[in-house]
């Protein structure tokens, strides 16, 4: 087992280690739920130890109108703190190495089938996640208001495949009385989940690359975070083997630290001359940003 796979398994266990839920039928409500986990991992999952950063962010936005000033400030700074902590420290290394849903996609991709990087005209598939972030994470929770004065959890309610799988199906297994609530939205989310899984069989990490708003938020930190990739032009032989293996179809070295790189580190590992390196906590003089 390689190092990345080991860390992914460990992270998945840390995200979802509450096996007691099998016996109690309840989700974990202890001390650790005061913290957010870095990966996309539904906090309604019976086994989840931590809050989902995207779910918590939306919960904050839907209730922004009815919070007292103290709770508003506390939640705003606390939640922002987690995004900055994860973003600046790791960026999209979280996607490649820690996210349980990313790990699941890696496993799904192992199913033997036709493999291809899905590229739509003008690469518009790369912009889907921006639309999802703006509309489903910010606009719907902030501006679509229910009778109770709350907004709607746009991404969680209508799209999130991790919520459907971990929160939806696992809770339906444990709680028979919840099955009466299954309706059109659940069928819609199930359809989205199955579609994403099918696309992930063909295209490695289709969801992470094109749809995940959490990955996009972490991606904004890719250029500034402590863990960065750097490129040494003196060592590069322009063999392009790194570009050929890149699952995000990025142009290397120009897009080495772009928003779309989810840090699988395949390029670094396959480079025969070690022209691509991982830098921790320093800005390398030879980074791709400088040689452009």
């Amino acid at each position: 087992m390689n190092k990345r796979r080991f860390i992914q398994i460990l992270s998945t266990i840390l995200h979802n280690g509450y096996i007691n839920s099998i016996f109690t039928y309840n989700i974990y409500t202890g001390f650790l739920k005061k913290f957010c986990a870095p990966g996309l991992n539904c906090h309604s999952c019976p086994a989840s130890f931590f809050g989902c950063p995207l779910g918590i962010l939306q919960n904050f936005l839907i209730s922004i109108r009815i919070l007292s000033l103290q709770v508003f400030l506390g939640a705003l700074f606390y939640i922002t703190g987690f995004f900055f902590l994860f973003g600046f420290a790791l960026g999209r290394f979280i996607c490649g190495w820690l996210c349980p849903f990313g790990f699941l996609q890696d496993l799904i991709y192992k199913i033997p089938f036709f493999k291809k990087i899905i590229i739509l005209p003008f690469q518009i598939q790369r912009y889907f996640k921006y639309i999802i972030l703006i509309i489903f994470i910010f606009i719907i929770p902030l501006f679509v208001i229910t009778n109770l004065g709350y907004g709607i959890l746009g991404f969680c309610k209508y799209l999130c495949p991790a919520g459907t799988l971990e929160g939806g199906y696992l809770n339906l297994l444990l709680h028979k009385n919840l099955r009466t609530l299954v309706g059109n939205i659940f069928y819609l989310k199930s359809l989205i989940l199955v579609s994403i899984f099918l696309l992930c069989i063909i295209d490695l990490r289709f969801f992470c690359k094109n749809l995940c708003p959490l990955g996009l938020i972490y991606g904004f930190f890719n250029r500034f975070c402590f863990l960065k990739l750097s490129f040494n032009p003196d060592r590069c032989t322009s063999c392009k083997i790194c570009e050929n293996i890149c699952p995000s179809n990025l142009s290397i070295p120009d897009q080495l630290n772009s928003v779309d790189c989810f840090r699988c580190l395949n390029c670094m590992q396959i480079c025969p001359t070690q022209a691509i390196n991982l830098n921790i906590g320093k800005i390398n003089e030879l980074s791709c940003n400088k040689i452009k």
Partner: protein, 44 residues
């Protein structure tokens, strides 16, 4: 080193205010509730 210092100051600032105003209680209350929306259950 300067980058690390800015990072730590920023985090200290955010978490200090967040904890002072009990931001963790908000996270705990929301993350400890089974969320029907997250599960996709219940139509409107």
């Amino acid at each position: 080193m300067k980058k690390l210092l800015i990072f730590l100051i920023l985090l200290f600032f955010l978490f200090t205010i967040g904890i002072k105003f009990h931001g963790y209680d908000f996270v705990h209350s929301r993350a400890s509730t089974i969320c029907l929306s997250c599960m996709g259950l219940g139509d409107e």
